[in-house]
Subunit: 603 residues, 2 copies
Amino acid sequence: MPKDNTPLFTVSTGPLPSSRKVHAPGRLFPDLRVALREIDLEPGCGEAPVRVYDSSGPYSDPAAGIDIERGLPALRAGWIEARGDVETYDGRAIKPEDNGLRRGQPSNLEEFPASGRRPVRAKAGAVVTQLAYARRGIVTPEMEYVAIRENLGREAGLGAPRDGQSFGASVPDHVTPEFVRDEIARGRAIIPANINHPEIEPMIIGRNFLVKINANIGNSAVASSVSEEVEKMVWATRWGADTVMDLSTGANIHTTREWIIRNSAVPIGTVPIYQALEKVGGKAEDLTWEIYRDTLIEQAEQGVDYFTIHAGVRLAHIPLTARRVTGIVSRGGSILAKWCLAHHRENFLYTRFEEICEIMRAYDISFSLGDGLRPGSIADANDAAQFAELETLGELTKTAWKHDVQVMIEGPGHVPMHKIKENMERQLAVCDEAPFYTLGPLTTDIAPGYDHITSGIGAAMIGWFGCAMLCYVTPKEHLGLPDRDDVKVGVVTYKIAAHAADLAKGHPAAKLRDDALSRARFDFRWRDQFHLSLDPETAERFHDQTLPAEGAKSAHFCSMCGPKFCSMKITQEVRDYAASGMAEMSRNFREAGSEIYHPVASE
Amino acid sequence: MPKDNTPLFTVSTGPLPSSRKVHAPGRLFPDLRVALREIDLEPGCGEAPVRVYDSSGPYSDPAAGIDIERGLPALRAGWIEARGDVETYDGRAIKPEDNGLRRGQPSNLEEFPASGRRPVRAKAGAVVTQLAYARRGIVTPEMEYVAIRENLGREAGLGAPRDGQSFGASVPDHVTPEFVRDEIARGRAIIPANINHPEIEPMIIGRNFLVKINANIGNSAVASSVSEEVEKMVWATRWGADTVMDLSTGANIHTTREWIIRNSAVPIGTVPIYQALEKVGGKAEDLTWEIYRDTLIEQAEQGVDYFTIHAGVRLAHIPLTARRVTGIVSRGGSILAKWCLAHHRENFLYTRFEEICEIMRAYDISFSLGDGLRPGSIADANDAAQFAELETLGELTKTAWKHDVQVMIEGPGHVPMHKIKENMERQLAVCDEAPFYTLGPLTTDIAPGYDHITSGIGAAMIGWFGCAMLCYVTPKEHLGLPDRDDVKVGVVTYKIAAHAADLAKGHPAAKLRDDALSRARFDFRWRDQFHLSLDPETAERFHDQTLPAEGAKSAHFCSMCGPKFCSMKITQEVRDYAASGMAEMSRNFREAGSEIYHPVASE
């Protein structure tokens, strides 16, 4: 394809305010350059820069030359090649129906240009999954990468006493590559990393690691274009999305996905049944194993890192949904329910599950076992249909593990607060601690327009209880398609939920950022407060709406109390007073037989 | 004051979409007209209108003649008079310093016009608090009003099995006036209702009732005007605020408050020390009991319904804060800490506490015992200073009860999730179940600009655990003064938290609205879905951003999946299929010895 200097479209690039990209080297693999973000604080404040987890990829690095039409550099290509267990081959030819086109109908969409790429797969007899490596005792570069990443740049444990309630999780003080390996071998964590998606910066999902979040994007039959979707992916990861699911339906699914994967530094998940359904004109009963299988291969070769597969929607479970208030709300679940009923047959994803494992193993694609029967309302939470399906997912987990395929389990949905813990506990028991990945859950149904919040509450709680990844919900949920602003609000809300969960679990390093921000707040270092926050731009904009003057950012007061009436200022006086006078006063009082001053606790 | 036809300013009036004001009569007091909102659903949908709690007052009633310069009708005046235990008297004269003016300096603010009102107080020897009446076995009209209100218009219990985890709360199936009386007598609930604020529609705060929310408003030294503040009050109650605190500082405090109280149908709370501090030019050490006492009388005569009083900030507790990351963050707490240290004396609010009780008793003002030492950061949560103060608040609760004064207790603040429950449990134990009233708590410090969400998570949880009222936090918290939009977002977020808590506690009627909305969602009754939501305007606007056509609101699909690919539609087919064919198929399979269909659970 000829290329002039005008990019087809651009995406959001550049560092976050006062932030630099830093790269930490590996110990086992010295060439590793693990990306972290370092936030610089005000000169002279006496505080070290704060390192934070960075999901934004090269886009936030001014030194990276971003070229959307070339895609990101293949960070993992050398690692994959060095293992000597994959082969390049002629992939499946792209067909018009991959993009929802009739034979001969031209696409109205620009193809991704650098399409000389040939796919790789496991050599005959080789097993190339991180799970297989881990079971063999091998530490991969991917494992060391995530170990360093999880430590947020700390080179050793903090040695501080742990403060949290972990409900049986055991986040170590310092994550080693060997710990990562052992958790993966145990099935308790996964690194979603298709060997055809070498562009990713590896990340890990498991209850003994930082809680992760996923953002959904994707065009629909109703709206949106490829440039919008790529920008949404970049934008979502800029604000903290750890993985992105492309839930596109309608036309141009294949081409859209190619653009997304080649430009994504985070794992990409899909629901292959969506595309398969498009290929049969939207008629669920016309779905066949052959079409589905072909779609899996198509997406595997493109580099999708995890597949949502609704193999737990068994024929026997479907009648359990008939009396529900909201029936089956999962798209995948309803498609398969319809197929099962139309054919009076067991779900072919269930009957073909071992064949699916073999395909996914050849590319190291992880399962995200879909909860097609998740409740769609408070009324339907934790019902027989939901838990019957969960039992099947537990059975399938063991089958996937048997095939050395990595697995996580999807969870609800809509659940009132008092029923959230049961979801987590049952999932841990039934699925033998395979990572849980929930959508929210929403804790009430009465606030469309605010479902990032109704679900953020449930997400924080289930994250605390042990959920490994939280699928975001945007303010547009139930109402329309999220735009750029909605994506950002959804991501930031879920970063809050995940971080609140990390704090409550007692993650050793999570509190460092809270403490740094609180100190900045107490010291009236306004800019540091903005820079340390999840959304520096919004924080600064809100501040400036009340006190726009540039001087107000170094003022030792804020708009809530004004200059004269400031509790922080008074506290400083109390503190100075305590430092100078309290010891003496305390002695005087004690000598007089009074207990009026308590001694300062010396924690 | 001469009055032409141009109002000084206007406020938001009119019903919410598809909603009518209805009034339920009393049983003991047949003249009662308890305001409720009834939401009409689409004609022909076969669903009854849904009654919901309505905090919006007469403003949402088109039949009410709103005149801001006259104030609301004195709903309770006849009830108060009929008890025969109050006397009208010449109130304290308004002084220039009440508005922060120097003697002789003219106010730049329009006085509230209808100022011929003379205050009332208890006759000598009479005790006019709802607590005193309850203890004497009397059911007041206020008590029956709140009983009917709490039932959301239900005239009997639902008789349905309870679904929730209440942590020791016992919300009855149907609230009777006698139950209200007993809970108040026990000290477990309060009806904040100053006899000088006859305009309110009574409401109740207690763990065995619906969880309530408070919105803070108030001008500051930096910004805002009286018309803005009155509109914020009306606006906050329109979206669900059950009480409003006027936290004004700076000039014109007295006049602003008069406008707010005369136009408020919800209880108004204040922090009297703020105004007292203004009267001494902002110098905490110049505060005296006489100035504070005079301020209490001033506000009591105006009709403030509850006072935040930081009597628990004892001199002995102050050194416990010296090593905190964020010291003392409560304004009231820091003012009193400074006073204590400056004078080397015990907090005068503590030493004069019984005198304060006597004043508040004469007007039936409720205590909101302030947590002046609440933590201002995750680092400081649940520390020695906070819990030392709580012990003192427990002691003061008993003192207030001894004087027949109603009491609630303020709580934090900033608390990570795993430390929230300890707050609730300690408060219940130490304060003998007096209602808890918390600010959030915020579950992380790293998201300024989103602190409605960081705190909404904590608020939902502590509401579930037993907190009776949740003080809202707006997106501007820590950054600036909330505007109208921020107030709305804060209120709706806290309605979500309170409602999620009611659901999780197993409130018998809370789920009715969720279920009605979920049925509307499943039936694609878009307008009903909007109308049943906490914020119908935002829900409809979000929907229309993707599918603006008027026809889309009656379309049996939405923008997420489009017309062809709709899980709700497929579910309906599954359901139809199940209804027609499943029984027979199931029989056939069973006869063939197969267990492939589970029987539909007959709950």
